[in-house]
């Protein structure tokens, strides 16, 4: 199963049809971890690029 299919699977409600939305624990965990990982990866790339090329890049604000 690819990442995309996995995201679709965990995003589905675990409650039955007509029931209120019930989040799967994998969905909640992925929501907390995935953006933090992407953010950390970007920060790593930026810091590395700054050290290698001697640049001052952005990415320190919101």
């Amino acid at each position: 199963m690819g990442l995309w299919e996995w995201l679709l699977t965990i995003s589905a409600s675990s409650g039955g049809p007509g029931q209120p939305f019930t989040a799967q624990w994998q969905y909640v965990t992925a929501a907390l971890v995935a953006p933090a990982l992407i953010g950390a990866l970007w920060a790593g790339i930026i810091i590395l690029a700054e050290r290698i090329f001697g640049l001052r890049l952005g990415g320190g604000g919101i």
Binding site: A23, A31, P35, A43, I46, G58, G59, I62
Partner: protein
């Protein structure tokens, strides 16, 4: 190339049951509603929006959350609850990146950050529950058109807040332009509310040695955290436009410490906001990944362009973009 959004599709069918019984797919600007009510959005348009919002944030330093949430709704038909939850979740990524980037500077008042978070946590939760209330509010029919309570209230709140910010940006840009042309000094805006809040000495009082603050009422700190957290939970925005001036003018925190502390507190707030919104099913993971990747790239380009082309006229254009967005939001409400 289109991407199906499972969470947005789910809530679209809940909020608009009539869309699950279409005879043929419904085409929007950058989205398609399938006959079964599923929402598919254009991937290139999504990447473009991510890049643009990142670029504007990198260039002007603010505005990401403010534009992203309404744009997701206006251009891609993503229900507001999902747009808010998704934007907030994306903020975990930008806050992580910003904290790691600023980490070297090390100017964070952790005590103040945790105290602010003490107020934010309640604000975020109340904001998220307000979104739930609006979701459950259903809809009403005006002139044969079904409008949801969620769409109406969010358009109104977002429109008012964005209008206020746009007018501030507009005034600042105009003052800078006047200064440039006439050599006049713009009149500094007084902060009477900040001054009054500073004089509140309601106990308990706390000291913030890292920030050089001898004594400040705990309630003022919690209040600042609560109010900015409320905006985060309800609208998916960082609330930095409230927190940063409050830290500097109300609490008297040095600017360099307030930047690091604001980012630290934002990371905690966005993590809690993501937790509560994801439990409520308001986070579209597919969107988070695409927008975060594109937004980070756009913000680099924005920061690079800002160093070369910063000019008050561009600030005027930014205010124009915000006013234009308000117009689109109103248009969306009635069509």
């Amino acid at each position: 190339m289109n991407v199906t959004l499972p969470i947005a599709s789910y809530w679209q069918k809940v909020l608009h049951p009539e869309l699950a019984r279409l005879t043929e797919p419904l085409q929007g600007w950058f989205f398609t509603i399938q006959s079964n009510g599923d929402l598919a959005v254009s991937l290139p348009a999504l990447v473009l929006v991510g890049l643009t919002v990142g670029l504007l944030t990198g260039f002007f330093g603010v505005g990401g959350g403010f534009l992203m949430t309404p744009w997701l709704n206006v251009f891609f038909n993503v229900p507001y609850n999902v747009a808010v939850g998704t934007d907030l979740t994306q903020m975990v990524g930008t806050a992580t990146m910003a904290n790691l980037r600023q980490g070297g500077a090390g100017y964070v008042d952790f005590k103040l950050g945790f105290l602010l978070f003490g107020g934010s946590i309640f604000g975020v939760e109340i904001g998220a529950r307000l979104v739930e209330l609006l979701k459950a509010g259903g809809g009403f029919v005006v002139g044969g058109l079904r409008i949801t309570v969620l769409q109406t209230v969010m358009t109104l709140v977002y429109g008012l807040l964005m209008g206020w910010i746009a007018s501030l940006v507009f005034k600042e840009a105009r003052a800078a332009l006047r200064k440039e042309h006439q050599g006049a000094t713009p009149v500094a805006m007084a902060a009477p509310v900040a001054g009054r809040l500073r004089t509140i000495h309601l106990r308990p009082l706390v000291s913030l040695p890292v920030s050089g603050v001898e004594a400040i009422s705990l309630w003022v700190i919690l209040g600042v955290g609560f109010f900015s957290g409320l905006l985060t939970g309800l609208l998916g925005v960082s609330g930095s436009f409230i927190r940063m001036p409050a830290l500097i003018y109300v609490l008297g925190v040095p600017t360099v410490v307030s930047i690091g502390t604001n980012l630290f507190e934002l990371l905690l707030t966005s993590l809690y906001g993501t937790l509560t919104h994801s439990v409520k099913g308001n986070v579209e993971l597919v969107l988070v990944i695409i927008l975060l990747a594109a937004g980070a790239l756009g913000s680099q380009a924005g920061a690079a362009l800002q160093r070369k082309f910063a000019h008050p006229r561009l600030q005027l254009a930014f205010a124009g973009v915000m006013f234009f967005t308000i117009g689109l939001m109103l248009l969306k409400l009635f069509r």
